[in-house]
Structures are given as C-alpha cells and as structure tokens.
Symmetry: C2
C-alpha cells in the first residue's frame, strides 16, 4: 500500500482573482507547498509567487508556459484555474507528466476532449478531480444525506442551475482580462453546468449504477448583455453595438438510465437573485432551494410548504457537522471551497482516486458541448456518451475511496 | 351593432364537483338563466337542476346526451366541464348549433382536433373561450400589468406550470367517477398546460405578434401513483399493482418566434406544495412565484431578492383593484373563477369575441398533444402549428374586444 505523502509539491496554472484565492486556501492546508506559478500574464504569475512568499514559503519560480513548468519543476499536483477552454489541454499535459490534476469548474468544447481526458487518466493512472465546490455546499450535502437515508423515497426529478447576474463581470472582460466575455460573444450553450449538475449527479448515482442518456437544450434570445453595455458603458466602448451569441437563459433537460429527469438552468445575463435552483422531487418528499422549501409526505400538511432549515439541521451531513465544530472557512463560498480543496489535497496525499473522479469530470463538463450541439440543432435530443465504457453498470465506490471515509473526502461517496 | 343581450340561456355539460361549482358561480352573475343540464350520470345532471332550482330558477330539463340537449333546447351559451377528452367533441357540436362555447381547461389529444375547433369557429362565426381562470389570478394580472408598463424591460424567458399533489384525486378516480385516472393510466405528456401557459402566452403576445415555434418534452419515470396506491389503498383494490404511463414530472420547453423561451412543468403525482411556478425574466426585472420573489434592476441590491407583495400592490391590475373594491368572490380559487366567468358572460351578452379566443384555446390545448408526441419521440422537438394561418403577424386586439375594456373582460387585452 502506498505511503501517504506528508508534503505536496503544488503548481498553479491561472492566477486570476479566483486562482489566487484558491492558492491562498490551499496553502492553509497542512502539507501543501507552492512549487511553481504559471500564468500567461507575468504580473499574475508574480502575484501568485507573492502569495506563496507572504505565506512563509520560499518564493516559487514563475512561468508563462505550463508545458515548461511541467518539464522543469517536479510536481505532485497542479491546480488549473485558467480560462475555460484551456482547462482540458493543461489537464492532459499534467497527466502526461504524471501530475495529479485539480481543475476549476467550467465546460468542455467537445465530447472528444472529454474522452481524451478519460483515456489519458486510464492510461497514465493519473487521477483528475473537478473542483466542484458546490458538491460540498451545506444544503447540497444535507440533501444528499437525506437521499441516502431514504427521506425522498424514490427520486424522480431534480432541478439545478447557475443563476447569477454576471453582466458586469462578463462585459468588463477586456478590462479585467476575463475569459468569460469571448465565450459569451461566440458560443451559445449551457456554459457552466457543473455547479448544479455536480450535486445532482452525486444524488442520482451517475456513473455508479446510473448514467445520463440524452439531453436537450433551448436558449432564449440574447438581450441582457447588449442592454447592459448600452446603459452602463461609454458609447465608444469596443463592445458598444456588439451582439452576443450566448442566449440569456439556457434550459437543459437530461434523461437518466434509471428514468429520472434533470432540469438545469443557466441564467447569467439578467438582473436576478443568485440561486442554484436546487430541487429534488421524490415519492416521499420535496426540497426546493427557491423559497427554501421542504415538503415531507405525511408530515407537512398537504399542498403546503415548510421551511427547509429545521430539516437541514436534522439531516446535517456528518462532514458539515464536524466542519462546523472545527470552524468553517467562510471566505470560500460559505465554506464549501475549503472542503472541496481539502478533499483534493487528501486524495493527492494518499495517492487515491478523488471523490469527483475523471468520469464525473468528463460527464459534467460534456454537458456544455452537448448543449451547444442541441441548441445548434434546434433543440434536438443528443445522445450522452458513456465515458465509463459500461463500467457504470457495476461501479461502486472504489476501495481506496472508502479508505478516506473518515476524513474530509468522504461525503460524496457515502 | 349588435344589441347587448340582457339574458343568457345557459346549458351545462358535465356536472361533477367542478361543473356544479361553476354553475353556482354563473347563476350569481346577472342575466344568466339555467336552461339545460347534461351529464352521462343522471344523478349529476339532476344535481345541476337542483342547484338551478335552489337558486330560484325554474327547474331546467336534464339530458344524458349533449347532442340531444343542443337539438331540443334553444341556448345562447354552453359551459363544458366534462372529462378532458370530451371537451372538444362537445365544443364542436355546440358551435355547429350556434351556441357560444365556454370550456373548462384541459388538453387536446391531437393537433387535428384543435384545427377542427378553429375552422368550425371561423366557418360558423361562433366564438369559443377556454375558461382559463389563472389568466385572472391576482399575481398573474399584476405581472401582466408590469409587463405592459415595461417594468421587465424586454422579456426573454418565462416559467410556469401546474404543481399540485393530485395523488388522491387521481387514484380515487373510480370511486369519484373522475376522468383523470384513465388519462394517467394510459397517456404520458403535459396533460394540464393551460394554467401556466395561459398567463405566459398573454404576457408574450402569443397569436398577436408572436407565436410558439416548437417544443420538447421530457417525462420522468412514473412512481408516485403506484407508491400511493400501494400504501393508501387496500391490497385488493383494482389499481393494486397497476402501472401508470404518465410520468411523475413532465418538463416542456417552448420556443417563440420572437426568441423567448418558456418552461412549463407538470408535477401532479408527488408530495409537494402547490405552485404554478410562475417566472418572468426580463432585461430589467425578474418575478418568481416560488419564494414570492422580485428583483428590480438598479433598485434591488445586486444578487438579492425582495418580497413580491409590495410590487404586486404597486402594480395591482386595475381590474383587480376594482374587484377588491367591490368584493372578491374568494370561493372560486381566490376569486379568479368569478372574473373569468364574468368575462365569458359579458362576451356572450355582447356577442363579441372573448378575451381568450378560439386561437388561444387551440394553441394552449395543443401543447398536450405536442408534448405526448415529443415524449414518444424521445424528446425530439416538434413543430408548433400556426392556428391563426399567419394572422398572428398583424393581429391586434379586435375592436369589439377593446369596447369591453371598461368592463370585466378587459384585462387580458390591455
């Protein structure tokens, strides 16, 4: 059995605001050592080195080219937090170099590159974890706990999504050197599925006894960003009068092998409250994030709603109960970032598959490419690839993952 | 110009609980005279006659066959409140007899029968109104008023649905002589679209400058009813062990000619709170029924939600303001039944097209048949027929409808 590493030599690719934040969190986890910083922008790479130095480590070398970084610096793990379309090329290069991959969320541009990720992981034995923090959300984990305890009865339908007014972040992409802008100008699809789909997929046992069979996507017209540019930016701004290809609201429906349906909504171009639109409908109970509602058959008065919080407290996931006892790192999206990163670090230290593995990663990211295809085809259903090559039929949590159950990466397997 | 009728000779087809309730409400509207009661069940037909008699009218004749009723009794209008699949045959017969049709909600079994309804109305000049009470809901009308005043900016997406735990009503269909049961045993589709689609279609100007282009539907597995039967009915009940074809949750996405998308959800087989899941997303504001939320760009703090009620009060529809002043008939679904029936009666009295006309009726009801088709085809998009034969391009509120603006059937044209 592999000895557990006490130290992890970490490289970071992509040191924007988000990458820098994640680096800071990672350096707070025992054993993580910053070994290399990489960004196309020199100031950002140096900024990463500054963070490492300020945290008391030796100043790591900086790179503009991730291939050079992987060639010159011996690493155990890499955090990928660059623009969406670079995630998978960097991940492939890291795997080829034998470096454990932790990848910020985003979607894929093709099914092909998702398959390439899976094959490389299978061939090299190098794991890849999508750092889907929302799988570690307190509500999501309580709901997962309820599902495992049978509170919902048989689950028939889930809802999820990413509803976040990002108009300023998108439209100020040039000023902020943010990749979202170009994606919104050019593409049209469910470009950010994993915050919603991740927790839903874990709940439904996707890739472990269940799988997505097909999906359809409809995109509304694109109006919100153009309207924002018109009213908030100077008339001579480069975006003035530009049209965006990305529809304001993209709705995707997925069908599962076991008969469940999943609805996933993307709404990032409109004024609205933040939501991940979580919904679980079973034969015995319903949870809805909107309105923080719960309904338990036989207990809640028929047709009525109860507040979710008392149920959340009753079914608090053990991981969260322990986390709250130890002290929540609230800076990272109400604490879920820290749990997610801790699961990654633990998996790397132990040399085991992470709780969100390469099949999950490929499956969740593929939704973006499949959604673009369906929209391009007028809402036609597109077949969902089986990235496990049939292994989903009998796949159980791997033994090495079960080994981690008493530690932080347990939750998603329980 | 046609003289306004002071009296309406009314026939009723279908006198279940709902039909009887509507009859009672109608008899409370000045000028409505009960002339004939019809139901396949003699006790129900007689029950209708009892209601009429108790309300102080001469006891009307009763019939088992609507054709016989239409042949023997001179009528101005008919209320159709029988089982779903009989709505359109009865409506066609009434139109052929020159009798103004008011039809309870439900869905169609084919596009063909929707076209037949439209052609018969065009050829005979007899109007047909779907009695979609939810178009007269207080919230829905306030939101319509906001939309007309531009509060939402440009609307890009709407959500709606019918989420109502009907497990007992469906499963006790034999005992209660209710048509829903057989539909749930045999069919699989969005069988009750109009409560959600009606208000959304009015908001989006469907058939008046806009139209539905296509839809897709996904149905979840069917588990809720079987589970309910197993746990709530005796082991020797005829439904024990029966499977239902109707999926527990059916999600339908529609695309409009002007680029909006609409999501419509049917959830009637699961324990959950009642909701019509109303949602309007525009470039300047969002309304969501779930959680009774509102967000107004530039006023609501970014990413936050405000309570809807103060906005509802500020933008109260004039019809509802007047209705509240005069006294709301709360017995009929918080008052909206009375408004809807009043609009019907007024339209009949004046001999004008109703605010929900035959094109609306056909369009909204067709969703059921189209949804069944899409589900049968694995979620394939199906083309939405243009029941107006192109008239939607230039169609404005008809002059005779504008005439009614100061009265109860105004709202939906304003």
């Amino acid at each position: 059995m592999q000895t557990e590493k006490t130290e992890i030599r970490l490289g970071v690719v992509g040191l924007s605001w988000r990458g820098s934040f994640l680096l800071g969190e990672l350096l707070g986890i025992p054993g993580v050592r910053p070994y290399a910083m990489c960004d196309l922008y020199a100031d950002r790479a140096e900024g990463g080195a500054d963070i490492a130095q300020r945290a008391g480590f030796e100043r790591p070398p900086v790179f503009a080219d991730y291939r050079e970084m992987l060639e010159k610096v011996p690493l155990d793990a890499v955090l990928i937090s660059c623009g969406w379309t670079a995630h998978l090329p960097v991940a492939r290069a890291a795997m080829k170099a034998g470096v454990y991959v932790g990848m910020e969320v985003g979607g894929a541009t093709s099914v092909q590159e998702c398959f390439e990720l899976v094959r490389l992981s299978e061939e090299t034995g190098v794991p890849c974890m999508l750092l889907e923090n929302c799988c570690y959300g307190r509500d999501e984990m309580a709901v997962l706990n309820m599902a495992k305890k049978g509170v919902f009865g048989e689950i028939v339908h889930c809802g999820c999504g990413y509803l976040h007014d990002l108009r300023d972040e998108i439209c100020l992409g040039r000023e902020n050197r943010h990749y979202r802008l170009d994606n919104y100008l050019c593409r049209n699809g469910e470009n950010y599925p994993t915050h919603g789909i991740g927790p839903a997929a874990k709940l439904l046992g996707i890739n472990r006894g269940n799988r997505f069979l097909s999906l359809v996507s409809f995109a509304s017209k694109a109006r919100g960003l153009q309207d924002w540019v018109k009213h908030r930016l100077p008339a001579d701004h480069p975006l003035a009068g530009r049209t965006f290809n990305q529809g304001d609201v993209v709705t995707t429906l997925l069908r599962c092998a076991n008969g469940e349906t999943v609805q996933c909504t993307l709404s990032t171009c409109s004024p609205r409250p933040y939501s991940r639109a979580g919904l679980v409908q079973g034969t015995r109970a319903m949870w809805a994030e909107e309105g923080r509602q719960f309904h338990l058959d036989g207990k809640t008065p028929p047709h009525e709603r109860e507040a979710f919080d008392p149920y959340r407290d009753e079914y608090e996931h053990p991981l969260w109960a322990e986390y709250r006892r130890l002290g929540v790192h609230e800076a990272g999206h109400d604490g879920m970032d820290y749990l997610c990163l801790s699961a990654f670090v633990e998996s790397v230290k132990r040399g085991v598959q992470p709780p969100i593995d390469v099949y999950d990663t490929a499956t969740w990211m593929a939704i973006t490419a499949l959604s673009e295809e369906s929209i391009a085809l007028g809402g036609a259903p597109v077949a969902f690839p089986d990235f496990t090559s049939g292994a989903w039929i009998c796949r159980e949590p791997a033994p090495e993952s079960k080994y981690a159950l008493d530690r932080v990466c347990e939750g998603l397997f329980q």
